[in-house]
Each structure stands twice: as structure tokens, then as C-alpha cells.
Symmetry: C2
Subunit: 347 residues, 2 copies
């Protein structure tokens, strides 16, 4: 299998290095051969080529069997709203170029991290949610611009039937293999694009009579997710609402540093942590690499169909946590100092 590593910005480099080490160990143990290439994206690509998504990155990605992705972003652009070229264009661009329309974000708590969350353990125990976030439509990709001499700015929130249908189908299929519950999140009481979303999900639902379906407005969903996380099984939603809900849901898993995602479409899959570039801790060797490790596990399972290999990785993470090892972000007041590890040691 040929894997392209796109480390990107900030802690992306540090964490994908560990993800790759884990893939190498799996290859060794299970007798596979993984070859690698590297490609640029984001701020790193802008610095090197002026372009947040060089053509070469797209070409290499298309020719690969899977992509291990780090993070993009740089504070420099965040504080300069007028910048024309931005690191995030790289990430949005590759999602679009590869047609990665479904972003899967499994939220599952490792028992050992039950105390790491700000949410009470009795509300978390047993929570197990699989988010399907639509990834190539919505207000992310609609027409955007300025008018009135720059004094008015707009972004078009837009969805077409086929876009909603294909992600809904993936979500329902997943629900059939799980607890057969699906929650679709929209804002149909205000937005026309949400009304189309709801219409299409209702239609697709008819093909899956065994799945218990509910529709929630995004505001209510953001509240229910903390109030009662266990009520959710599969959640399907648009690009913007999915961005918000999955970051929020990271608190269910104790830390953002633990959460992996798979972006899939009709071809090559891309695997990335849900955390960002975290420039405040970049280069300090303290970033939690487990989201990248668990992204590698998702790659083994989804892109390569290597279930046993994938489980071996997840079990290894579980063992390491059971043994008491923590990175800083998942440590608490009771963690002995000698069990708090850096990025490489945790790997």
C-alpha cells in the first residue's frame, strides 16, 4: 500500500511522524509493505511555493492508496482577515479535489479517560457516537465575496439533493451495523437549505425502516450532546454544523487530542486528527499523537480492509492508557509526573 503523508502545519509534523511509526510497526508485525511519500499543504506549502495546495500534492494524493494528514493553519492569517492566500484553502481544496464528501468522526471514550472530561463520568460512561459530517458542500464552498466597497460580506449556504442523499445513505448504512439509531441535525425552522436537507433525509429513511430516526435543530443538538451524550448513535449533519458539533463532542472523549477522523468519497481516503495545528505547543514535543495514531487505525480499517491490524492499534492505545501513561492534555492532578510523556515517548 502506498501512503502519502501530508503533515501540514504546527504540530502536524510531530503527530504524523508517530502515526507513520505505528503504521511501520503494523507492517512489520503483520507482514505488509507500506511505502510512503510526502507532500506539502497549508502554511508550509505557502512558504515553499506560494500555493496552499500545490498541484503536486493533489497528483500524489490521487495516486496513493491513502493519505495520512496532520493539520493546517497559522495564527498569522487568523489575525489578518484581509489575507487572500490562507492555509485552510489547502485543506478545503484537497477535500474538494478528491471528492471527500463524507467525514466520519467516531467519538468513543477510553474508559481510562472517564475522569479527564469536564463532564460528569455518569453522563459519559458508554457514550459511543459516530458523526457523519458532509464535507464538500454547504457555506464552506458556496460563492463568497464582498460588495458595497467591501462593507458587506457574504457566503452562500447551499445544498443540492444528491449531496444530502449520498451522505445520508452512508450514515444510514452505518446505523444498520450499530444501534440502528440516527439523528439528523439541521436548522429547518429557519433555513431553506436545512429544509431540503430534512426532506432528503426523510426520503432516504424510508429505505431503512429498521432505523429509528430523529431530527434535531442544531441549537438543541448542541445542548443535548452535553446533557445526554448517550442518547446518540449515528449523527448526520452538514459541513458547518458538523464542524461545530464534533469539536464540542471532543469533550465527551476527554480531549481533542484523542479524536481521529476519516474523510472518504469515491476514491482515496484521507485520515486526520480532528485537532488543529496548535501553534502554542508546536515544536515542544508535548503534543498528544494518539489522534494521529487512531487516524492510522481508521485508515487500516476503512481504506485497506485490515480489521485485525486496526484493532491491534486501538488495543495498543488502550493498553498504554491502562498502564497509566498520559500526555499533558489528558493528565490530571492525580497523574504521577513520571507517567506524563512527550509526543515521541507516547508513540
Amino acid at each position: 500500500k502506498h501512503i502519502v503523508v501530508i503533515a501540514g502545519d504546527g504540530i502536524g509534523q510531530e503527530v504524523t511522524t508517530v502515526g507513520k511509526q505505528v503504521l511501520d510497526r503494523i507492517a512489520e508485525k503483520f507482514g505488509h509493505e507500506f511505502t510512503y511519500d510526502e507532500a506539502l499543504i497549508g502554511h508550509a506549502a505557502i512558504e515553499a511555493t506560494g500555493n496552499p495546495l500545490p498541484d503536486e500534492t493533489v497528483t500524489k494524493s490521487k495516486q496513493s492508496d491513502a493519505i495520512l494528514f496532520g493539520a493546517v493553519g497559522h495564527p498569522k492569517y487568523d489575525n489578518d482577515p484581509s489575507a487572500k492566500v490562507r492555509p485552510e484553502q489547502g485543506l478545503l481544496g484537497i477535500r474538494k479535489a478528491l471528492g471527500l464528501y463524507a467525514n466520519l468522526r467516531p467519538i468513543k471514550l477510553f474508559d481510562e479517560l472517564l475522569q479527564a472530561s469536564s463532564i460528569k463520568p455518569e453522563f459519559l460512561q458508554g457514550a459511543d457516537i459516530l458523526f457523519f459530517r458532509e464535507l464538500t458542500g454547504d457555506v464552506y464552498f458556496g460563492e463568497k465575496g464582498r460588495k458595497d466597497d467591501g462593507d458587506t460580506a457574504y457566503d452562500l449556504m447551499i445544498y443540492s439533493r444528491y449531496e444530502v442523499e449520498r451522505i445520508a445513505v452512508k450514515a444510514f448504512e452505518a446505523a444498520m451495523t450499530r444501534r440502528k439509531k440516527l439523528c439528523s441535525v439541521d436548522k429547518a425552522n429557519v433555513l431553506e437549505s436545512s429544509r431540503l436537507w430534512r426532506e432528503v433525509v426523510q426520503e432516504v429513511a424510508k429505505r431503512y425502516p429498521e432505523v429509528e430516526v430523529e431530527h434535531q435543530f442544531i441549537d438543541a443538538a448542541a445542548m443535548l450532546l452535553i446533557k445526554d451524550p448517550r442518547r446518540f448513535d449515528v449523527v448526520v449533519t452538514g459541513n458547518l454544523f458538523g464542524d461545530i458539533l464534533t469539536d464540542e463532542a471532543s469533550q465527551i472523549a476527554g480531549s481533542m487530542g484523542m479524536l481521529a477522523s476519516a474523510s472518504i468519497g469515491d476514491t482515496t481516503g484521507l485520515y486526520e486528527p480532528i485537532h488543529g495545528s496548535a501553534h502554542d505547543i508546536t515544536g515542544k514535543g508535548v503534543a498528544n499523537p494518539l489522534a494521529s495514531v487512531l487516524s492510522a487505525a481508521l485508515m487500516l480499517d476503512i481504506s485497506f480492509g485490515m480489521k485485525a491490524e486496526s484493532e491491534a492499534v486501538v488495543n495498543a492505545v488502550d493498553q498504554v492508557l491502562k498502564a497509566g501513561f498520559r500526555t499533558r492534555d489528558i493528565a490530571d492532578a492525580t497523574t504521577p509526573a513520571n507517567l506524563i510523556l512527550g509526543t515521541q515517548e507516547m508513540g
Copy 2:
């Protein structure tokens, strides 16, 4: 003072009845005279007149000194994405008609409810956030519609400089009277409307050098709100992001049933619970009326400048909770059955 009560749908009637009783008691105690009128909105108005916002409701509201508002919404429309006339149009319409561009949502925990939340008390104690949600712009009011024979649906997310500026000014002014911290929430790494938002907030910030300003992306903000609620003082954000964050923040206050909001602009203010119409419990006499009572307290303070009267109401709520009384939504396993009250008894 002349007050229009717009009860609306679902539990709106039950809870505003209590809000009004509390205003009457204040009038009696402090020697004021409050007169009342009623007006229709939402599903109730559609049933009676075919229009979710009858002209008469707007006229009466404009002539009043303040509006005590209940809730709008009906499940019938939620499951019918194709309905043309919808209860929510009443609420959106009155916000627009009265120019209520600033929605203030104070999130403060009554000590007695520290245990009622799914969030650990040690993360909540002392949390005190004042949200400023922009209320008459954004994707709520941009052009919306269908094309491609109905197979594509869109909503325009749009902001103009003056809209961002006037809400930012209100938020900075409030920050100056509080802990002098302001967090502006947007998605400037993706959205052009957010980049304008950030630009304008940065400019307004220059006029308030004493206020410590931070900018967060909506996904990070949704996460930080649960991870560390005490880091926030004043939060200012757009209509959609504000809708989501304030519902989420209700978990900080233990229950949605406790949260009041004030919608203000250049004229008459509108005071409403942040909870919705809750048809599942309508007519059962179990709804928590305290959000309506606290909305009345905000009215006394903001629209009538009656600080002592407003404090008397808040203190009364505090005393009732200290005495152990609860409605169902804020009761827990340890609450004795005889202290669990219905809507009227709690009033």
C-alpha cells in the same frame, strides 16, 4: 408602564402567566402601575388569522414600553419541510420589525443548581458569561430559496459593517462594566462574512484599550465553553453561532428552564426565555417558569431602569431555590418529592 404579553405557542402561555404575576407583585410592592395587553404570534396566530405575525401584534408592540414574550414553534411544521407559513416567521418578523438587533443572554449559575448540570461543579463554580448575539442579520435574514426544480436550496449568510459595529459596541460597553474581557466568535478561516466580522471587531476594540480581546473560531468556542466556561466574560457573535452557543451554554446554568434573554435595539425591548415551546410538556403544568420570571427581571432592569425591583425578583428566585423548591427539570435524585413543584406553585 405598558407591557404587551405575547405568549405564543406551547408552554409560552403557562410561563408568561407566571412572569406577569411576578410583575404584578413587584408593582404592588414598589408602588408602580403596570398595564397589560395581549397579542398573538406563531402557530397560535396562524390558527387565528393565517398569519404568524399579524399587523396588530407589531402595532401593539411598538406602542408598548416592553414586551414579555413566551415561545413559538409547533412540531407539525418541523416535520413538514415544505410548509410555506411557519410559526418561527412570527418571531423572526418581530425581531426585524422592531429592530431588535442585540440579544443579551446572561448565563449565570444559581449556587443551588451546581449539581443539576452534566458538567462537573468544579468547572462551573463562578462561571458568569454574558452573550451578545446579533439578532437581525446573518443567514437568518439573507435571501433564501430554491433552484434546479427545487433540488438545490440556499440561504445567504451576509453581514454589513454597521450591523457588526453596533452589536460590537454594545458588547464592549458591557465588558467595561464587568471583568473587561471580550471574546468574539466567528469562522474567519473559512467565511468571508466572518472575516468582515473580525475586521470590524478589531477596529471597535481600538476604542476600548482596557478590554482584553480574543477571537475564537466557532468550533473551538463550542469546545472551550464546556471545557472551561470560566474563561469567558462577554461573548459577542453572529445570529447563527449565537443561537448554537447560547443553547449549549444552558447546560452551564443547569437547565434551559432557567435562562432569560433581552432583545434590544433602538426602541421597545422584548424579553423572552431562551427555551422553546416544548410541546411535549405543554398543558401539563410542569414547565419551569423561572426563565420567564428572570426575563421579567431583565425587563425591569433594562427597559424600566428599575434596578432594585429587578434584584428583588432575582433574589426571590434565589430564596426559592435555597429553600429547596424545584421544578422537574432542575430536580435530581436527592430532591424530596414534596419539594418538586408545578409551574403555578413555583410562581
